[in-house]
């Protein structure tokens, strides 16, 4: 048993800290607080990472990866979250990138990978369809071959930030034969193609993160197909094995919980700080203990992977427990905001509202509800764990 970092790892941590101090500077941090700045900040931030060679550290080195060990990833994640720098946008760097370098041809690799690393393209994901939910295999968006093109008709839904995207990676149906999974292909779509409509979906936090994307006779060159026709399901599934650890969100949760504790020390009810309120104390400590355990669950997974083993059965907890904890922290924060957690700030400044975190608490709480729905709902995760871990 040894959770000490090696000398080399400690040196790496210092390097990360120095990089963050410079790259996630005051200017970028304050820009990130402005409404509507999300995409600009992400692009600027990811380009800084890229110039350091850390935009996609887990990619194979030949494609621009950094050759990090799991321990290095863990160190980077912790340091990044501690200073409040954002995670990279996952769609290019964590999702389509690995599919392209694993299953794409050389032309595709050359064309897309450098642009992904440098945030030159904004990617979105075309998996879910209206009415299909977690049952991906039942998808209906059709791609029919017409000469050198596929002609695409159908619709995708829950497409995060499609309004910013110029590319989509998309699962489409190219055959109706065999099992539903067997007729699916993985294709890259230029979002500026004629026939694409992006319809905004406002979510329960009142914001526009999501979209429905409708395809009417959209022509996509055959060269944009990844791998073989009808094998898209296999490629998409292989993605699930990537990035098992970051899904727990431990580093970000630690930062958020520390913030809640600080806020609770300042928030007063009837002359007593909320951190002295016995029920609130207990709620904090319930979550904190669970998070302390989850941090070690994540370390166990990392340690297992460091040895070249699989992630182990405990990896099935990461998303289930991680999202539960994320939601609980957001709930604490909302409750801490009291009356002010009901306010939609919408341009008003903190002084006008009379409070400085009610609005962000409300939005955070509302959006956190999605954590147990998207990316494999809690219910599906439990079904999978029951089947593959418990053998039921």
């Amino acid at each position: 048993m040894d959770i000490n970092f090696s000398e080399a790892e400690l040196a790496f941590r210092d390097e990360v800290r120095a990089f963050l101090k410079d790259a996630w500077n005051e200017e970028l941090a304050s820009q990130a607080k402005q409404p509507g700045s999300y995409k600009d900040v992400q692009v600027a931030w990811e380009r800084k990472l890229n110039s350091k060679g850390w935009a996609a550290p887990l990619w194979p080195v030949e494609y621009g990866g950094a050759g990090w060990t799991p321990a290095q990833s863990y160190i980077f994640e912790n340091e990044r979250a501690a200073v409040g720098a954002p995670d990279v946008s996952p769609f290019g760097l964590k999702m389509v990138g690995p599919v392209i370098y694993s299953f794409g041809n050389d032309a595709q690799k050359e064309r897309f990978l450098p642009r992904i690393l440098n945030a030159d393209d904004w990617w979105c994901q075309g998996y879910s369809e209206p009415g299909a939910g977690s049952d991906l295999a039942s998808l209906k968006t059709k791609a029919e071959r017409d000469g050198d093109h596929y002609v695409i008709n159908g619709a995708k839904i829950w497409t995060t930030l499609a309004q910013h995207a110029n590319w989509m990676f998309c699962l489409v149906r190219t055959s109706n034969e065999g099992k539903p999974q067997q007729g699916i292909s993985f294709i890259l779509i230029d979002m500026t193609s004629p026939g694409i409509t992006v319809r905004p979906i406002v979510t329960i936090d009142g914001e526009h993160h999501l979209n429905e994307v409708i395809f009417e006779e959209v022509r996509v060159p055959v060269e944009n197909l990844i791998g073989e026709e009808n094998k898209g399901w296999t490629y998409a599934k292989s993605l699930l094995a990537h990035e098992r650890t970051a899904i727990a969100g431990v580093a970000d949760s630690k930062r958020n919980l520390a913030e809640v504790k600080k806020l609770a020390a300042a928030e007063v009810n009837g002359g007593r700080a909320m951190i002295e309120d016995p029920i609130f104390r207990q709620r904090i400590s319930d979550i904190e203990i669970d998070l302390m355990a989850l941090e070690f669950t994540e370390l166990r997974v990392l340690a297992s992977m460091s040895k070249g083993n699989g992630p182990g059965v405990e990896s099935s907890l990461l998303k289930l427990k991680g999202t539960e904890i994320q939601q609980s922290i957001q709930e604490l924060k909302l409750d801490l905001a009291g009356y002010f957690g009901t306010v939609v700030q919408d341009g008003a400044n903190n002084e006008q509202v009379g409070h400085d975190f009610g609005d962000v608490a409300r939005r955070g709480f509302m959006m956190s509800r999605a954590a147990t729905i998207y990316g494999g709902s809690d219910e599906v995760q439990k079904n999978i764990t029951a089947k593959f871990v418990l053998g039921l």
């Binding site: 979906i201 329960i204 928030e267 007063v268 709930e331 919408d346 008003a348 509202v353």
Partner: protein, 378 residues
């Protein structure tokens, strides 16, 4: 022993339900709350015509003479329809405090105007620092002849932008957290020295932060009576909001159940999955238990139980409201999946209203501690 509504109460309940069904579907409601005021003036006049605005007022004041049961009957149906008109803020809070204040010709005339819909009111009790404590008051009242001058800040005052008159809690003596020394005052909504910042809440209400600088005001109670009157108002409002919350919970459970019966995944209705069935049994039970504790609180008021007993029941009611609201609201979103996250569906709107009610007059945790203090001492 019975839990039936009287014939009169049932008619009242049915009339609200009919209004919601005929004129207040989700689409219509979205149009109503898009108004600058956050509600429809035409609807308000209709409420007046239907007599709803007179419910809590005594018959000798031109009212319906309704009690806690009547309020409950109306509010449950308003909850189901997510009615945005400021019935609670103007009629129950403002009207209720007026009715509890000393009789005067002016007061009676004002109540008559509330009943006929020509005047709306608001009550300002919270301050930026006060959180859930009614006695945490910094706003000051300085006597000037027969009247007073108020200075200070009030936070997130419901209906303050549409109100003609506003009742304000202010300190006549003592320090910020003293239980003594707070009184209630009536001001004009366009009084000199009063400035308002309008804000929206997540449940689409229009509220306002108030700044008062030497605003002229009339006291409506004695110098030490303000807190007791606010506490009394809180009791009545908690029952009313709990009834609204019950309507919302029932609606959310029904909507979710219906969705699970029709929504197919992996080839079958998701309502056929046993894990979801058991969770829907849990939310069903939560709503029924909440209904029971609401009935208990209403009965304790209607039977004139001791003040302590009523306070215990009210604290228990609001404590359970917090738990049930989070539980039922959370499951409604989760079981609706991606659809539950969208603003296009009514589910999120009901959930946000529930969360807003949870915070109103102190959240579940706050009242559970009040409950423990009252119940374990006895």
């Amino acid at each position: 022993m019975n839990f039936d509504f009287s014939e009169e109460q049932q008619m009242l309940k049915d009339s609200v339900a009919r209004f919601v069904q005929d004129e207040y579907d989700f689409e219509a409601r979205n149009k109503v709350v898009a108004n600058e005021a956050g509600f429809s003036a035409a609807n308000w006049q209709k409420f007046a015509e239907l007599g709803w605005l007179s419910i809590p007022f005594a018959e000798e004041l031109g009212g319906f003479g309704g009690g806690a049961t009547d309020t409950m009957a109306v509010m449950e149906e308003m909850g189901k329809g997510l009615v945005a008109e400021p019935f609670a803020a103007s009629v129950l809070m403002f009207g209720g405090l007026l009715q509890a204040s000393a009789q005067s010709e002016e007061r009676d005339a004002l109540i008559a105007a509330v009943i006929d819909g020509s005047v709306q009111g608001a009550v300002a009790y919270a301050e930026p620092q006060s959180r859930y404590e009614l006695h945490d008051v910094k706003c000051s009242a300085k006597p000037e002849g027969d009247a007073y001058r108020l200075s200070g800040e009030k936070s997130l005052v419901l209906n303050a932008m549409s109100a003609n008159k506003i009742i304000i809690s202010a300190r006549v003596s003592g320090d910020q957290n003293d239980e003594q020394g707070t009184a209630l005052f009536l001001i004009d909504a366009d009084a000199q020295g009063l400035s308002k910042t309008a804000l929206r809440t997540m449940d689409a209400q229009v509220v306002a932060n108030l700044k008062l600088e030497n605003v002229s005001a009339q006291a409506i109670c004695g110098a030490n009576e303000g807190l007791a009157m606010l506490q009394q108002m809180r009791q009545q409002l908690i029952v009313a909001l709990a009834a609204e919350a019950l309507g919302i919970m029932e609606k959310l459970n029904a909507t979710t159940l219906e969705y699970c019966k029709t929504r197919k995944q992996f080839g079958v209705a998701i309502g056929s999955f046993q894990a979801l069935q058991h969770r829907m049994v849990d939310t069903f039970m939560a709503a029924e238990q909440f209904k029971s504790i609401l009935y208990r609180a209403v009965c304790s008021i209607e039977q004139n139980e001791s003040a302590d007993s009523i306070e215990i029941n009210i604290a228990a009611l609001k404590a359970m409201l917090g738990k049930a609201a989070k539980h039922i609201g959370g499951e409604a979103v989760q079981l609706h999946g991606g659809m539950g996250m969208t603003d296009e569906l009514d589910v999120g709107h009901y959930v946000r209203r529930l969360l807003s009610i949870n915070a109103a007059f102190g959240d579940g945790d706050y009242h559970q501690q009040r409950f423990a203090g009252l119940s374990l001492a006895s």
